[in-house]
C-alpha cells in the first residue's frame, strides 16, 4: 500500500516524484540558511538603515504607498500594446459578435474538414 502511494510518476521521458523534490528542497533550503547565517550582521532595526529613500522626497503615509494592480507590469502592457489593443477590439461584449465568431470558426472547420 505504502509502495503504491510513494510510486514515482513516469512522464514518458522523465519522472516526477514530489517527495524527492521536497527532500531536495529542504536540503537546499538548509544550505541557503547556513549561507545566510554567514552574512553581515550589521543590520539594525529602527535606525535610518530601514527607512525608504525616495530621492530625498518625504515618505508618504503607509497606506498611500500601495502599488495598485494596474500599475504592475506596466512595461509588459506598454510593449505589447498592439497585441492587447487588437484583442480588446476582438472582445466587444456584443452577443451578436460572439455568435459571429462561432459561425466563422464553424465555417472554417467546414471548409477544412468537410470539403478537403
Amino acid at each position: 500500500m505504502i509502495d503504491m502511494i510513494l510510486e514515482t510518476l513516469q512522464t514518458g521521458t522523465g519522472f516526477w516524484n514530489p517527495l524527492t523534490w521536497i527532500v531536495a528542497f529542504v536540503i537546499i533550503f538548509l544550505i541557503v540558511f547556513i549561507f545566510r547565517g554567514m552574512g553581515n550582521k550589521s543590520y539594525k532595526k529602527g535606525t535610518g538603515q530601514t527607512q525608504a529613500f525616495l530621492s530625498g522626497n518625504k515618505e508618504y503615509e503607509k497606506h498611500q504607498m500601495h502599488v495598485q494592480s494596474s500599475n504592475l507590469y506596466w512595461g509588459w502592457t506598454e510593449s505589447l500594446k498592439w497585441v492587447i489593443d487588437m484583442l480588446k477590439k476582438m472582445h466587444t461584449g456584443n452577443v451578436s459578435d460572439y455568435v459571429l465568431w462561432f459561425i466563422v470558426v464553424m465555417g472554417l472547420l467546414l471548409l477544412s474538414v468537410g470539403l478537403i
Binding site: T11, G12, T13, G14, H66, W76, V95, Y98, F102
Partner: protein
Amino acid sequence: MNIIDMLLAHAPALIIAIPLLGAFLTPLISRVSDKGRNIFAIIILGITALFVFYLASDVLANGPITYVFGSTAETVQSSTVIRILFEIDALSIFMAIIGIILAFVAVLYSYAFMEKNTGLDKYYTLLLLMTTGMLGMMLTGDMFNFFVFLEITSIASAALVAFWTNKSKAVEAGFKYIVISTVGALFVLFAIALLYGQYDALNMAKIAQNLGLSGFTFLDKIALVLLIAALAMKGGLAPMHMWLPDAYGRAPASISLLLVGATQASLYGLFRIVFTVYGDVISLPTVSIGWILVLLGIITMLIGVVMAIIQTEFKRLIAYSAVAELGYMALAIGTGLTIVANADPTITLQTAPFAMKAIIGGLFHVINDALDVGLLFLVAGAVYYATKETSLNRLGGLARNMKYTTVFFIIGLLAVSGLPPFNGFASKLLIYESTYQLNPILSIVAILSSILLLAIFVKVLHAVFLGPALPKFESVREVPKSMLVAMAIIAGIIIIFGLFPNLVVSNLIEPAANALVNNNSYLQWLTGGI
C-alpha cells in the same frame, strides 16, 4: 442491508434522480425553514456524492456499466436501440467525480456566502438542477439525452449567472450565456438529427458501430464539424471563449465554481464524440482533427493569458486564466488525437507512446484545473464577501485580516501556475514532455503561458493580499467557517493530488485514458459481451 444493495444497483439512475428530487423538494422545505433548506441541499449532494464514489469503485473494478431506463440491458441489445440509457465507463465516472466534488463544495460554500440574499429557494433549486444536468451530460450514453442535459445545464446556469438581478452586468452576462448556449445547442441538435437520419439510432455506441460499418459520408463530416464547433464553444475554446469571462466573472462565486464543471462537461462531450462516436472514422479526414484541437488549444492559451494580465476585476481575471487552462486540455487531448487518429499505419500508440502520456496529462489537467481555478474563484468570492469590492485597483493588504483565505489563495496560485510540488505541476509536466515530442513549439507556448499565469497571480497576490493595511479595510474580518471549510476541502485535495500524483494517475486517470482511446470497450455491451 437489502434496501441498500438494491439502491446501489440503481446507482447510475439515482445519481441523476436524487439531485432532481432534491431540486423539486427544495421549494417545499424552504416554506418550513430557510436553514433546513440549506442543510437539505448539502445532504442531497452528499448522498449523491456517496453514490458517485460507490459507482466509481464499481466501474473501475468491473468495467463499463450500462443502465437502461424502464427496461433491462438485455432487451435493448436487439437491432434497434430506442431506450434512453446511461453508459458509464472510467472516463464518465472520472468526470462525474469532478462534477460532484465541485457541486458539493459549491453548495457548502453557498451556505454562508448567499445567506443575505433573497429568493434562495430558487437559487438552490437551480443549483441542484444544474448539478443534475452536468452529471447527466457526463453519464449519458444517448446523443439526444446529452442534448437535453446540455440544455438543462445551460438554462439553470444562465439563470444562476443572472441571479444578482440588481446588477445590470450580471443580467447581461446571463443573457449572453443563454443566447450562446442555445445557438450552440441547436447546432448540436442539428448534428444529432443528421446522425439519426442516417443511422436510425440515437445511442452513442450504436451510432459509433454504424459509422464504422458505413464509412464516412459528407453528412457525417458536417455533423462532426457542427458538434466540434458547438461543444468547443460551450467548452470555452478561443476564439469562441468570450462568453466565459462574462459569465464566470459576474456569477456568484459558488456558481463560477460550478460553471467550471459545466464547461468541462461540454469538453467531455467533445472528447467523447471525437474519440468514441467517431472513433472508427476519425482518421479519415485529410485535415487532422487532432491538429485542429491543438491549434484551438494554443490560441486559447495565448489569448487567455494575455487578456488576463490586463484585467482589473478579480473574478474576470481568474476567468481569463481559466480560459488559458482550458487551452492546455485541448492541446493535450489534441496531441493524443493526432497519433490515435492517424491514417499512417506506422504511427500508432505503440510507436509513439507520448500520445498516451499526452491524453493522461490532459485528463489529469481536467481535474487539476477544476480544483485550482475553483479554489481561486472561492477565494475571490471570499474577498468579495468580506470587502464587497471586486476591483483589484481598490483592494490591498488583506493578508492582515484574512489569514486563512490568503493561505488558500497562495495554494491556488502555486497550483494553477504549475509550480512543484502541487498538482498543476504534475499534469503540466506530462503535457510539456508529450507535446514536445509532437512539436517543440507547442511545449514552448505551454511553458510560456504557465510562466505568464504565475506572473498574473503574483500580481493579484500583491494587489489584494500584500502591501500596507488600507484604512477602509480595517474592519474586515475572516469569512465564516462554512466558506473556509469549502475552500479547505479543495485545498486539501490539491495537496493530496500534488504529493501523490501517481496514486491518482494510475488509479483514476489511466483507466479513463484507456476508455477514451479504446472505443471498443464502449461498444462492447451492444454485442452482449459485458
